[in-house]
């Protein structure tokens, strides 16, 4: 599935958050979106997912959806957004209950999602009984249960410790290796973007405008190889060069505010 954004602008009252964004995310592509704090990354994702109404501009999706897809454009949230009163399996059931599925198919989707994330043994646990990494795995399993055509990931690893981040990045890589799901991945972390994305869109400080899109040539499964490091370091430098001054100015603006 492709995502096509044309001349997108968004404002909260007098505050212009996004201005003139033109962007296309290709089928099967992972596009990372980086930029300074407050530049509208999460708003862009909310608009792409249809939960924030844009002030102007158009946003569209095109292309095939996989068999059994119940929610073509699906979020994975930074704060996991799990219902604390529901068990792990019931959190997955929540997003299936309003679809006309047989009980057997519902069970199969829940089991498949939980097994893929290594959570089957924790299916009866409440979210409070899980670690941060496991909670995010529940969030991923919940997204997989609806068999999405496109994933919108809003800083999914930023609330987690470094080791858990590393493990979950491996999970994402395995997922994209296997299913080639289109993804928009919002992050603050350049290393996450370099590890996971095919292209990186850099936004300016508020109002967020698209400064540049940087392509990472190295195949994702070879980015830990020594031979890839020179190219990745050059891309990292380029990205840092693009956002450093903007991030400093954004920090000052936040401090002044």
């Amino acid at each position: 599935m492709r995502l096509i954004i044309k001349d997108l602008c968004h404002r909260y009252d007098d505050l212009v958050v996004l201005d003139g964004i033109d962007l296309t995310v290709q089928e099967g592509e992972v596009l990372a979106v980086i930029g300074p704090s407050g530049c509208g990354k999460s708003t862009l994702l909310g608009i792409a997912g249809g939960i924030v109404a844009p002030t102007s501009g158009t946003i569209a999706v095109a292309g095939e959806v996989p068999d059994g897809c119940l929610n073509p454009v699906t979020f994975i949230f930074q704060d996991f957004a799990l219902l604390p009163w529901r068990s792990v399996e019931d959190n997955l059931a929540l997003v299936l209950e309003h679809h006309p599925l047989s009980a057997a198919e519902r069970r199969e989707r829940i089991e498949s999602g939980l097994r893929r994330m290594g959570l089957w043994d924790f299916r009866k646990a409440l979210p409070k009984q899980l670690s941060g990494g496991m909670r995010q795995r529940v969030g991923i399993a919940r997204a997989l249960a609806v068999r999405p055509a496109m994933l919108l990931l809003d800083e999914p690893l930023s609330a987690l410790d470094a080791q858990t981040r590393e493990l979950l990045m491996e999970d994402f890589l395995a997922l994209w290796q296997r299913e080639r799901t289109t993804a928009v991945y919002v992050t603050h972390n350049l290393d996450e973007a370099l590890r996971l994305a095919d292209r990186v869109a850099v936004l300016s400080r508020r109002p967020g405008r698209l400064r540049e899109i940087v392509t990472i040539e190295e195949p994702r499964d070879q980015r830990l190889e020594p031979s890839a490091q020179a190219h990745l370091a050059a891309v990292r430098d380029r990205l840092w060069h693009l956002i450093r001054a903007e991030a400093q100015l954004a920090d000052r603006e936040i401090a002044d505010a």
């Binding site: 909310g46 929610n71 704060d79 604390p84 009163w85 929540l94 997003v95």
Partner: protein, 277 residues
């Protein structure tokens, strides 16, 4: 091997003073449980109270001893008057509280989820909430007569506003990220209300029940003191008028036990319904 510690720059430390154990400084504010302290204080209080009467320090007319209060209570239980008064009070609390709670939750829900209801409701609730509800009892007697309906109305009205505020605030505090998550997965509006908003608001609503149960108890006593033949409030007032202070305190004890029982029932309800917390 020298026993001098090394710094990061591999320089030997010259200080050879003897090692001192690190003094614990973290005490003083830690909460400790003293399981028997409350029971002991309670027993001590009753013993002192009983002794002041036994030794003639306080007149039994003004402050009857606990044994006399217990005896009066036992007498009330035996002759059946306790159950008659208790039944009347419980019925008034039950009906008045249920009326106020159902109406308050409905309005609170409407204000929590609807912007028009909120715009209309917030100023109205703010204006009516501070009125001492017992002051309206004469008006309710005028409207509904001296019988039960005026007492139900007083209790219901007293319970209504705190329930509206508790329900509205509880809905307002349901994490918005959960609602956005549900919207992003395409859950219908009614499902979001039933599966996210209602359970998310339940802790706040139950906390409101605790407050409104106390209000109902206060109002039933006040209403019964103004115009009732039966009820714990009426019994306490009559006992006071006849200087039967042992019976008066027996009535107060019943009210206290009633409040304690309601609180315990609500605690059990909270434990059952909010296991996830």
């Amino acid at each position: 091997m020298p026993d001098t510690p090394m710094t990061g720059a591999s320089l030997p430390l010259q200080d050879r003073s003897p090692a001192q154990p690190v003094r614990f400084r973290g005490g003083g504010f830690a909460v400790k449980t003293h399981r028997w302290a409350a029971l002991l204080a309670f027993v001590l209080l009753i013993a002192v109270w009983e002794s002041t009467n036994r030794f003639g320090l306080v007149s039994a007319l003004f402050l009857p001893p606990p044994s006399a209060v217990a005896s009066a209570l036992a007498g009330m239980a035996q002759d059946g008057s306790l159950w008659q008064h208790l039944k009347a009070s419980l019925m008034r609390i039950g009906v008045g509280w249920a009326m106020g709670t159902v109406a308050g939750m409905a309005v609170g829900f409407a204000m929590g989820i609807g912007s028009v209801a909120r715009a209309v409701g917030v100023p109205l609730v703010s204006a009516f909430f501070p009125i001492p509800k017992i002051a309206l009892l004469p008006l309710f007697i005028l409207w509904f007569g001296i019988g039960e309906p005026s007492k139900f109305a007083t209790i219901g009205f007293g319970v209504f506003f705190p329930t509206v505020i508790a329900t509205y605030s509880a809905i307002d505090s349901v994490p918005r990220n959960l609602i956005r998550m549900a919207q992003s997965f395409g859950l219908p509006w009614a499902s979001i209300l039933r599966k996210i908003v209602l359970p998310g608001a339940l802790p706040g609503i139950l906390a409101g029940f605790r407050i409104t149960a106390s209000i109902a108890l206060i109002l039933v006593v006040a209403a019964e003191m103004i115009g009732a033949e039966y009820g714990i409030g009426a019994f306490v007032l009559t006992a006071g008028n006849l200087m039967l202070t042992d019976q008066l305190l027996a009535g107060v004890l019943v009210l206290s036990l009633l409040g304690l029982t309601i609180g315990t029932v609500l605690s059990i309800l909270e434990r059952r319904l909010l296991k996830w917390r």
